[in-house]
Subunit: 252 residues, 2 copies
DNA sequence: AAGTGGTCTAGACCACTTT
DNA sequence: AAGTGGTCTAGACCACTTC
């Protein structure tokens, strides 16, 4: 309740209609900035789509698309016959399809990596199945410890099929696996991921600096490229006191 | 490589152009069914959008929207200048904005609930902050154990602000919290959620039937309704050997 | 040069909510 | 009755990839 048709103005002063950045994206970005900085306050109602389109001098579908972006992000809520409103809470970024290295880097920590294992092995049955290749085919097996400011936060185990089996150990010291793949022209698009938890086993507790048998947060993911082919199978475990997955869910 | 322009035909035999179901949704559903049942095989390329539109007798934007739905779900991959292809792997359903009760029910288990705590309390600071209400305001505090076929799988702790503090204990025995809320006209739209892990503490191990100090998978979520208002704050913990979150990530 | 998806326009009609 | 978002049309031009 109590949501006036508030509407700020100079939010869209610098739209570039000839540049390479899509119009809808520019509008969405500026709207998001205005919402996150409370220039458009939480709970307030937006002007209707047609008015916005007229005032910005663009078509309604373009405005709609911009708004839809923010609805999908969970910042806005639309109701037919009512209007579009800003959600009350601040919104966390979704689970991104980036490597942990990028995540840590973007949150201004200093990530480092130590490689424990770097070997080419014939794929065991389960790995082959996940990678959609024949059992026994050569794959690159990696096991690394990821540190943030010197503190271990995760153990990363990865399996990569050809043509990535020649990735060098040195490449992975200063860059995340995904950065290395991107540099090789791999466009990562889709991943299937499962998150769960279990006791630390083997050397994991020592590597992470937690007590034996203590809890670890686990992920298992299969990553696909642009062409829908499998690029990587990863089994990771994280220190749960230092890491959590934050996401925004939007009802379909 | 090796992706022919395969294209089946009688997939779209029963489109209803006058019913209430949107055209793009019908097309997307039928396409998804065809892909999941391998009528359209993994890795194959789709016809281009304009041809599809012509053959189905609809406009290109409508076809585009249908395809986009499946791209967002991670079933299809689009590349400019190349075409649209089916992703290799089978796709898991994303983390849904449903209650655990619904989840368990839809996977054909028999969920039951035992309420441990059902009390109205003045909101402590942290709870008030999450619910965006004043400290000390009355909230409903719930603590329940969720079982699947008699086996405990989760401990659910929830805090609800007015006007939901009058939800009766009986209501929650046979239905999930979200079902109860929906029955009261609440349309759930957005949630911010964090997933992590920790040791079981207090009575949790006994309630879940796991060893003392064993690992539990935890979630913390703030749920918003249609109007962007906070409906619920929940802190849940799950038996990690019986529960995991599966999701499909799609690069923006 | 030809073919693909990406963006954008300028409307139209409808379903739903509020007055 | 008036106002809102939801869907759909029939085009247009562009950027990118392949031949």
């Amino acid at each position: 309740m109590s949501s006036e048709t508030i509407w700020p103005d100079e939010v869209f002063s610098d739209l570039d209609r000839n540049g390479p950045v899509p119009l809808y994206y520019q509008v969405a970005s500026r709207l998001e900035r205005a919402i996150r900085s409370s220039v458009i306050p939480a709970g307030s109602r937006l002007e209707n789509e047609i008015s916005i389109a007229q005032r910005l001098g663009m078509s309604r579908p373009t405005v709609r698309r911009a708004i839809q972006e923010l609805v999908d992000k969970g910042l806005l809520v639309r109701r037919r016959g009512i209007g579009t409103q800003v959600v009350q809470g601040q919104v966390s970024r979704p689970v991104e399809l980036t490597s942990l290295y990028d995540d840590l880097q973007s949150t201004s920590h200093e990530p480092t990596t130590r490689t424990l294992l770097h070997a080419i092995i014939p794929a065991p049955e389960e790995i082959a199945e996940q990678l959609r290749i024949a059992e026994g085919t050569d794959v690159l097996h990696l096991r690394r410890v990821r540190r943030s400011d010197g503190t271990p936060v995760a153990i990363l185990e990865n399996y990569l099929p050809a043509p990535f089996t020649d990735i060098a150990e040195d490449d992975l010291d200063t860059r995340g696996l995904y950065q290395v793949l991107r540099a090789r022209g791999v466009a990562i698009r889709v991943a299937n991921q499962a998150i769960s938890a279990r006791r630390a086993k083997g050397d994991e507790a020592d590597l992470l600096g937690i007590s034996r048998g203590g809890p670890v947060l686990t992920t298992e993911r299969v990553v696909f490229n642009d062409a829908g082919e499998v690029v990587e199978y990863g089994i990771h475990c994280y220190r749960p006191d230092l890491y959590r997955f934050e996401t925004t869910l939007v009802a379909k």
